[in-house]
Symmetry: C2
Amino acid sequence: MRSSAAGEAIVTLPPRCAACNVRDDALCATLEDAGLVALHGIGRRRTLPAGQVLVWSGDPNAICATVVSGVLKAMRAGPEGREHIVGLAFAGDFVGDLFADTANETIRVMTDAELCVYPRAALQKMLDAHPAMERLLLHRALGALDDARMWMLMLGRKAAGARIATFLLEMARRMGQPGPARFDLPMSRSEVGALLGMTIETVSRQMTSLKRRGVVALPGGRGVIILDRAQLARAAAG
Amino acid sequence: MRSSAAGEAIVTLPPRCAACNVRDDALCATLEDAGLVALHGIGRRRTLPAGQVLVWSGDPNAICATVVSGVLKAMRAGPEGREHIVGLAFAGDFVGDLFADTANETIRVMTDAELCVYPRAALQKMLDAHPAMERLLLHRALGALDDARMWMLMLGRKAAGARIATFLLEMARRMGQPGPARFDLPMSRSEVGALLGMTIETVSRQMTSLKRRGVVALPGGRGVIILDRAQLARAAAG
DNA sequence: CGGATATTTGATGTCTCTCAATCTGTGTGG
DNA sequence: CCACACAGATTGAGAGACATCAAATATCCG
């Protein structure tokens, strides 16, 4: 029950939550102040450097988390031990599997990131008392399913050029500000390949091709500037 | 509250539900008798012939359903209007999107099928009163996500032969009885191609190759007999 | 049995992977 | 401040797998 005016609530809320940039998007958004205090009680804020692993595939599935900032990837091992990226998580997203006892995906931080990490068991217990939280998780699961099916469509049918174009548009949507279409990719060429199902060389060639045609500029190793969005969209459809 | 002994419950339950083969697997399994009567009240049993469309992509998203028997596919349009299969639904599965206002997938019946069809709005309303139902839907959504990511891995990394082998094992698991590894595919070669991201010709050639190597037999157009499961599994891993 | 549809088989081309070398940019130590 | 070293990225040449186009069967159903 929301028992106090805003000015008072700030006193009772954990300071980190009151100032949190994903306070209204993430799991927390579903909770009234008392619930938020409880969630904060079971969770722990962690800052992880790029490359750090949050969950190892095959290990006991002990934790879930809310992404506060940064980008994470979920990976599964394909044949020959090669790893493929099967999902990305951005600020506000929920990562981890609430119900599996053994993790079947490795979750790794791609850029420096802040997370709110929760023990899975405790979070599961909270779920029973907070139907709105469960509803949000259902929404998120369906959103992730939608994403996965979008990638399926791409992996199954699109040529390399169209994959790269689709990928750039998707990254621009998720990372870029509304204004200028300038952003940094949160991952290396090798990781782009692991997501799009192609080799690093093919990724590079397609990027270069877009650059030569004046569709994008590629400043530095990770920078992207979309110069001609219409043509990029056309390339993504083909 | 489960208020009566089994013998009595049969009287109050709709006859179709009492005798239903997915009574303990599907959405219905989460409901006590009174809830089941309510669910039956908003739903309608429909028998659909193979090829029938349940939901058109782009149309208002009006219904969801439980699959009682048969197999359904969820499709999305790729480039050039070609359609790709992004999900399958078997007996006991839930199909449809509870929250989208516009359907973004076409759902089509692959074999003759029986469904319990529910208006989306009414089902959504029931959800608030039945947390167990919501929990099951969350489980199902995560299961579908797991499936989608499995297909992603396949589409991204596996060669044609490995895709076919994986597909056959998966179909055997979902359709076959425990005993003899004999079953009929619920779909045409063309649909297999639309699921695995390859042409009908490549599907055919890979099937023939497995047949020639004595791994499977292919009686009739749709029949499959797995003769050497170990070798099929080996082919699926490659 | 006959026609339509689905599947198999064949010949050829193209795209992407593989292997290999060069280049760029990033960070370090002199 | 510059030279150097290293990892990541780009570019090139060649081979292989799958797509495409085209034809010949097989299967299904009335």
